[in-house]
């Protein structure tokens, strides 16, 4: 009986999501299969010929295989900065949630401010130049970390409350130092949140557009979103190539999502405490 409702519900959900989510997606795919003339119409029609492979080849080869460089750069930036983000943000969120001091209000405000204020580009570039970090991947990574910390901190801060404090205490009694408690007990139990953070932040950073534009000049430093500029401008756009490009750069984050999505499982804290 339960089974049947879940199948019916699932079918309904699949139908609804198909309309709402998949149709726009199909549009993107169709665009990637068209030639330039047809794609300029930007309509919801079947491609007149199969141009997908040509499009892919052209997109990848454009501007001296810029796409490849971009993939490498974006991947490095994403992996390193997400790693740092997760660890540093979790540390802050953890202490912020667990320890009540009168500084908490201020700290939380500063964190929120990071979401509320757009970064000041020019002073930041001056600063990066002063630190010899301008135009380097290191600098870019640190920028991504700084700009995305607030989001991750807020996420962790809210979720630390779901880990029973008893577990911290048990670990402390077992002789754990703060780092042990954090890395061996709290962080593993926050895994679903970490997964969320990884997914969301890697998508955001991989797809970041404005920041690399300003902080990471130079062709050798291209990132994936910048490759879109090859096909889209104010005055003329090659929509077939643009959408092929969009499709191509969407695949890695999609794979990341599908991999990590499976890791979000229920019941991490089951059986921990009584009461």
């Amino acid at each position: 009986m339960k089974k049947r409702t879940s199948i019916l519900g699932g079918a309904a959900a699949i139908a609804a999501t198909f309309v709402v989510f998949v149709i726009p997606f199909i549009f993107i795919i169709l665009m990637a299969f068209k030639d330039r003339q047809q794609s300029a119409l930007r309509d919801f029609s079947l491609p007149t010929g199969f141009h997908f492979w040509e499009n892919v080849v052209e997109v990848v080869k454009t501007r001296n295989w810029m796409m490849i460089t971009a993939f490498i750069n974006s991947s490095i930036i994403t992996v390193v900065s997400v790693t740092l983000l997760v660890i540093f943000a979790a540390m802050v969120g953890y202490v912020l949630a667990r320890r009540k001091t009168r500084w908490n209000g201020l700290i939380e405000f500063l964190v929120l401010a990071g979401l509320m204020v757009p970064p000041a580009v020019v002073p930041t570039i001056w600063l990066l130049q002063g630190l010899q970090l301008f135009g380097t991947l290191h600098g870019m990574i640190l920028i991504e970390v700084a700009y995305n910390l607030p989001f991750s901190i807020i996420l962790y801060r809210a979720f630390v409350a779901t880990i029973p404090r008893d577990l911290d205490e048990a670990a402390i009694i077992d002789g754990a130092r703060p780092l042990d408690v954090f890395f061996r007990i709290v962080l593993p139990l926050l895994w679903p949140v970490t997964v969320t953070n990884i997914v969301v932040q890697s998508v955001g950073i991989f797809n970041d557009f404005t920041n690399p534009l300003y902080y990471l000049p130079g062709n050798a430093n291209a990132t994936v979103q910048l490759t879109l500029y090859n096909f889209q401008s104010q005055f003329s756009t090659a929509y077939n190539l643009l959408f092929t490009n969009i499709l191509l750069i969407t695949i890695p984050p999609l794979l990341v999502f599908m991999f990590f999505n499976r890791q979000i499982v229920a019941g991490m804290t089951a059986g921990a405490v009584k009461g």
Binding site: P164, A170, A171, I173, A176, M268, A270, G271, A272
Partner: protein, 360 residues
């Protein structure tokens, strides 16, 4: 050495004062049991000793250091939490071995200790499970295992056996007792089980409302409770009480009477009470014996036949009801009249403030 001293220890949660000035000395190697009604502050006291609760007032000394400001991991303690607090993402094996791992115990030693603990706790077959796959009692045993592998100077046990079956509980009691004598460690133990308290304790601390009521050896508390609270609390079933007046004093025996009893003799040194004093008479259910000429007469109420003994609920004339535990299996009929007697040496008297009129 790990003796403990609690000096006027106090703890408040906001405005609620939970521990109201506790003074206590625990010698190194002693086995101390905390007992008291639910919510009286036992766990809180334990957690203060462990360093998990800030101390609102007073001083806590372990060894010869004031440790108010010392971190839990530097206090040399292990603790079994009332709520278990197992690490849900680790197997039983890792849960038990976590403390050893942190202490960088070599792998083989660790393995051997974990397996030894699992053997003691009869959970060798559970080592690969996660806590969520365990029954309540199994979880509790994991919690115990986690404490005992570490062999610290002070053990804190918060109702460690409450969810175990009787047989296992007896076994565990023995194991803890053995551990105590082997390790020469100080143990502080909270329990609601009178038998546990009586059998394990060198010293029992009776708490009520955040205040220590009496400290003493088990037999002392049983025989010479300091006040009505301790008298009522220690011993199961509960001691029977009745309000009486001192009738007359004959040598070292006082005769007391009240609405329900007439002329019950109580052994007492001379000079402690005077005729006419308002007192409370206390008699343990186990100390009542069937005696046709007994001073206490009532009607049989509920009867519980346990096999080796029979518990009788006796309705006294005033409507009060007493319990009597009679030897053997006795077939008593509800409603029939029953007369009971008590050994004068075993009856106790308490004054108007509830303090024992000391027999000593």
């Amino acid at each position: 050495m790990a003796g403990l001293e609690l000096r006027q220890l106090r703890k408040s949660y906001g405005k609620v004062e939970v521990i109201k000035g506790v003074d206590l000395t625990i010698e190194h190697g002693e086995f101390v049991v905390f007992v008291g009604p639910s919510g009286c502050g036992k766990s809180t006291l334990l957690r203060m000793i462990a360093g998990l609760e800030d101390i609102t007032g007073g001083e806590l000394v372990i060894g010869d250091k004031v440790v108010n400001a010392v971190e839990p991991r530097d206090r040399g303690i292990a603790m079994v939490f009332q709520s278990y607090a197992l690490y849900p993402h680790m197997t039983v094996y890792d849960n038990v071995g976590f403390g050893l791992k942190l202490a960088r115990t070599p792998k083989e030693v660790r393995d051997q200790k974990i397996r030894e603990a699992a053997r003691i706790l009869q959970m060798e077959h559970l080592l690969d499970r996660k806590p969520s796959q365990l029954s309540g009692g199994q979880r509790q045993r994991v919690a115990i295992g986690r404490a005992i592998v570490r062999q610290p100077e002070v053990f804190l046990f918060d109702e460690p056996l409450s969810n175990l079956d009787a047989a296992l509980r007896v076994d565990m009691r023995m194991e803890i007792s053995k551990l105590h004598s082997e390790l020469d460690a100080t143990m502080i133990y909270v329990t609601h089980d009178q038998v546990e308290a009586m059998t394990l304790a060198d010293k029992i601390v009776v708490l009520d409302g955040g205040v220590v009521q009496q400290v003493g050896s088990p037999i002392e508390l049983y025989k010479h409770p300091a006040n009505l609270f301790v008298a009522g609390f220690i011993g199961s079933p509960k001691m029977n009480f009745v309000e009486v007046n001192a009738d007359k004093i004959v040598g070292e025996t006082v005769h007391v009477s009240g609405p329900d009893v007439v002329g019950v003799p109580v052994a007492l040194p001379a000079g402690k009470v005077h005729p006419g004093d308002k007192l409370t008479l206390g008699v343990r259910p186990h100390d009542l014996v069937v005696a046709p000429s007994g001073a206490i007469v009532g009607r049989v109420g509920l009867v519980e036949r346990l096999g080796n003994e029979t518990i009788v609920n006796l309705e006294l004339p005033s409507g009060a009801s007493w319990l009597a535990v009679l030897d053997g299996d006795q077939a008593l009929k509800r409603g029939e009249s029953l007369a009971l007697d008590v050994d004068p040496a075993k009856a106790l008297l308490f004054d108007a403030n509830g303090l024992a009129v000391a027999a000593g």
